[in-house]
C-alpha cells in the first residue's frame, strides 16, 4: 500500500511502516517553545521530574511573543527562560532575533524529513521544508524536551492539488487564503495536508512557509508542501508521496485566474475576492508575523510604496520576521523605502499579531493585516475588526486609506 508524505516521515522515525490511524511513539528531531508557552513548559518539565533535556542541541527557546518585555511580569518570565536555557545549555533566541518559526528555519533546527514539535500552533510552517511539524501545548512540549519523544496518531491526509500558475500580482498569501476559505477552519482537523501541483512548484521557500503556516487555520495537524521545486542551500533527500497513497479527501483547483483574496472579520475562513471589500476604510496596516514578515513580503510592500507616502489617516507597522530579514531589507533598501513612506518599524517578533503590545487597535478601528488570524480580540481589542490579506494588499491599503486591489501597483 502506498504512503503519504506524513506516513513516510513517521515510518522512518518509528522504524516500521505505519499508516493513518495507528498510534505511535516517535523520536523527534527538534523541539521549541516561545515566551507564551515556554514558562509553563519549564514549570511542567520540573514538575514531571525533568532534569536534563533530551538533547540541548535539538531544543530551543525563543523570546518573540512579547519582546522586548512590556512589563515586569513578562520580564520575569523571560528571565525564567534565560535561566533555564543557561542551566540546560540550550540556545535561547533573544528579543529581536526573530519569530520562532523563522529562526528555526534560518538556523536549520529543522530540515526536510524531520519530525519537529513546537509549542506554537503555527509550527506546521516547517511543512514548507518537507518536514512533519506539529504544534502542541506546554505540557506536551515539556514531555518532549524530557523524553525526546511524542505520541501521535498517524494522521489521515487531505491532498490539495492546485493547477495553473498564479497571475502576476497574486501571491502565495492570496492562494492560501483562498484555500482556507474553501477547506474552512475546521476542514482539516486532526488531519495532515499535502499541497501539490504546479501552483506550488515555482514558489520560494518564504512563500512555501506562508502556505504551510496557514495549515493551522484549517485545523490541520501538519501541512506539507510537495518538495518539487524546493530549493535549499544544502543537499537534502526529498520525501514524496507514493503514487497509490491513500488520501481521505482530494481537492482540485485551477488557480490560474485567482484574484487577490481578503479574509474578513472574524474568522480566517471568511474569505472572498478582494473586490468584495474594496473601498473598506482602514485605520491601521500591519506587515509582519510568521505568515508574512519575510524579505519578499517587505520587498513587495516597498515596491508599492516606493517614493510615496501612506494615507494621512493610516498608521503602518512593520515587524520583520527576523533580524536577518531586517538586515537584508536594510541592505536592499526596502526598509528605508517603507520608513520613508511613513511606516513604523518595530522589533522582529510576533508583536501586534498576538495583542500583547506594540500596536493594539482602538475601539471601532479597522486593521488590514498580513497575519494569519483575525479572531475577535486577536490584536488585543475585541472592539476592533481585522481583515487579512497579502503584504501587497496591506501596502496598497496603507497608501490609499481603504482596501484596494494592489495589482495596479504591481503590473
Amino acid at each position: 500500500m502506498g504512503q503519504t508524505i506524513s506516513e513516510k516521515i513517521i515510518s522512518k522515525h518509528v522504524g516500521k511502516k505505519v499508516f493513518a490511524g495507528e498510534l505511535v511513539i516517535s523520536d523527534v528531531d527538534g523541539a521549541m517553545a516561545s515566551d507564551t508557552t515556554g514558562p509553563l513548559t519549564i514549570k511542567a518539565f520540573h514538575e514531571m521530574g525533568g532534569k536534563k533535556v533530551f538533547n540541548p542541541e535539538k531544543c530551543a527557546l525563543i523570546i518573540d511573543h512579547a519582546a522586548p518585555s512590556p512589563n515586569e511580569r513578562i520580564a520575569n518570565l523571560h528571565k525564567m527562560m534565560r535561566d533555564f536555557a543557561k542551566e540546560q545549555g540550550i540556545r535561547l533566541f533573544e528579543i529581536g532575533e526573530g519569530i520562532c518559526h523563522q529562526v528555526m528555519v534560518e538556523n536549520q533546527y529543522v530540515k526536510p524529513g524531520d519530525i519537529f514539535i513546537g509549542a506554537d500552533s503555527h509550527t506546521p510552517t516547517y511543512g514548507a521544508l518537507n518536514a512533519f511539524a506539529c504544534g502542541v501545548g506546554s505540557t506536551d512540549l515539556a514531555a518532549t524536551m524530557m523524553t525526546g519523544k511524542i505520541w501521535l496518531k498517524v494522521p489521515q491526509t487531505i491532498k490539495i492539488n492546485c493547477s495553473g500558475k498564479l497571475k502576476e500580482g497574486v501571491t502565495a498569501k492570496d492562494l492560501i487564503l483562498f484555500l482556507v476559505g474553501k477547506v474552512t477552519v475546521s476542514g482539516a482537523t486532526y488531519q495532515a495536508i499535502e499541497f501539490s501541483g504546479e501552483a506550488f512548484e515555482g514558489l520560494s521557500l518564504a512563500s512555501r512557509m506562508t502556505i504551510a503556516n496557514m495549515s493551522s487555520e484549517m485545523g490541520a495537524k501538519t501541512g506539507i508542501v510537495h518538495p518539487k521545486g524546493l530549493q535549499l542551500d544544502y543537499d537534502f533527500e526529498a520525501i514524496t508521496p507514493d503514487e497509490h497513497a491513500n488520501y481521505v479527501k482530494v481537492f482540485d483547483f485551477d488557480v490560474s485566474d485567482l484574484e487577490p483574496q481578503v479574509s474578513a472579520p472574524e474568522s480566517p475562513d471568511n474569505v472572498h475576492n478582494i473586490s468584495a471589500y474594496e473601498g473598506t476604510k482602514i485605520d491601521y496596516a500591519f506587515i509582519g508575523t510568521c505568515c508574512n514578515g519575510r524579505l519578499e513580503d517587505l520587498d513587495i510592500a516597498a515596491e508599492i510604496l516606493k517614493g510615496k507616502k501612506i494615507h494621512p489617516d493610516v498608521r503602518m507597522v512593520i515587524a520583520p520576521a527576523s533580524q536577518s530579514v531586517l538586515l537584508d531589507a536594510m541592505k536592499n533598501g526596502s526598509m528605508s523605502t517603507l520608513i520613508e513612506a511613513g511606516a513604523s518599524l518595530i522589533t522582529s517578533g510576533c508583536g501586534p499579531c498576538v495583542g500583547t503590545h506594540q500596536g493594539v487597535p482602538a475601539d471601532g478601528e479597522v486593521v488590514i493585516s498580513a497575519a494569519n488570524r483575525n479572531f475577535r480580540g486577536r490584536m488585543g481589542n475585541p472592539n476592533s475588526n481585522i481583515y487579512l490579506g497579502a503584504p501587497s494588499t496591506v501596502a496598497a491599503a496603507a497608501l490609499e486609506g481603504y482596501i484596494v486591489n494592489p495589482k495596479k501597483y504591481l503590473l
Partner: protein
C-alpha cells in the same frame, strides 16, 4: 481522574470558539493561574466568570478551542471551575492540552444540549445524561494513551509515574 461522575449545569455556547475567546493573548503570559480565571471567555460572554460555579459543564458546538496552542485556554477553564467540556468536536491542540492538564473533554457529535440543562456524566463510560431533555449521549472513545494520561490526572503525573510514554 478523581471524580468519575459529575452532576452539574451546562453553559452552552456555539461553534468555533477560538482560544483568543477562551483567554485573550494579552492575559496568557503568567504563571499565576488564578488570573486566567478572571478573564476566561470574557470576549465571548463577559458574565461567564461571574456565573460559573465550581463543577459546572461547558458545552459547545464544532471546533472548540481552535487557534493558538496556548495551554492557558484549558487551564483558564479548569481554574474557573469547569469540570468537563463537551463539544461536537475539538481543535486538536486544545484537545491534547485539556487531557494533558487533566481537564476531561467529551466529543459528542450529535448532542443538542441546551443552555441551563442539568447533566449527569459518567466520565469513565463516556455517557452523558441530559436530565432536562431526557436524552442520553455517548462520547467518542479516547485513544488508550489519552485515557491513561487522564486517569493519572494529566501528563505531569503520568510521566512522574511512568518516566516515559508507553503504548
Amino acid at each position: 481522574m478523581k471524580a468519575t461522575t459529575i452532576h452539574a449545569k451546562a453553559h452552552v455556547y456555539g461553534d468555533h470558539i477560538d482560544t483568543d475567546r477562551i483567554i485573550p493573548g494579552k492575559y496568557t503570559k503568567t504563571l499565576d493561574l488564578s488570573t486566567l480565571a478572571d478573564h476566561v471567555l470574557e470576549d465571548l460572554d463577559p458574565n461567564f466568570n461571574k456565573i460559573v460555579q465550581q463543577g459546572d459543564i461547558l458545552v459547545a458546538g464544532i471546533n472548540f478551542g481552535c487557534g493558538s496552542s496556548r495551554e492557558q485556554a484549558p487551564l483558564a477553564l479548569k481554574q474557573a471551575g469547569v469540570s468537563v467540556v463537551i463539544a461536537h468536536d475539538f481543535a486538536r491542540i486544545f484537545f491534547r492540552n485539556a487531557i494533558n492538564i487533566g481537564l476531561p473533554v467529551l466529543e459528542i457529535a450529535d448532542h443538542n444540549i441546551q443552555k441551563g440543562a442539568e447533566l449527569d456524566i459518567d466520565l469513565k463510560a463516556g455517557i452523558v445524561k441530559d436530565l432536562s431533555a431526557n436524552k442520553v449521549y455517548s462520547a467518542t472513545k479516547l485513544p488508550d494513551i489519552m485515557i491513561d494520561i487522564l486517569n493519572e490526572g494529566g501528563l505531569v503525573n503520568y510521566l512522574t509515574k511512568h518516566g516515559n510514554y508507553s503504548l
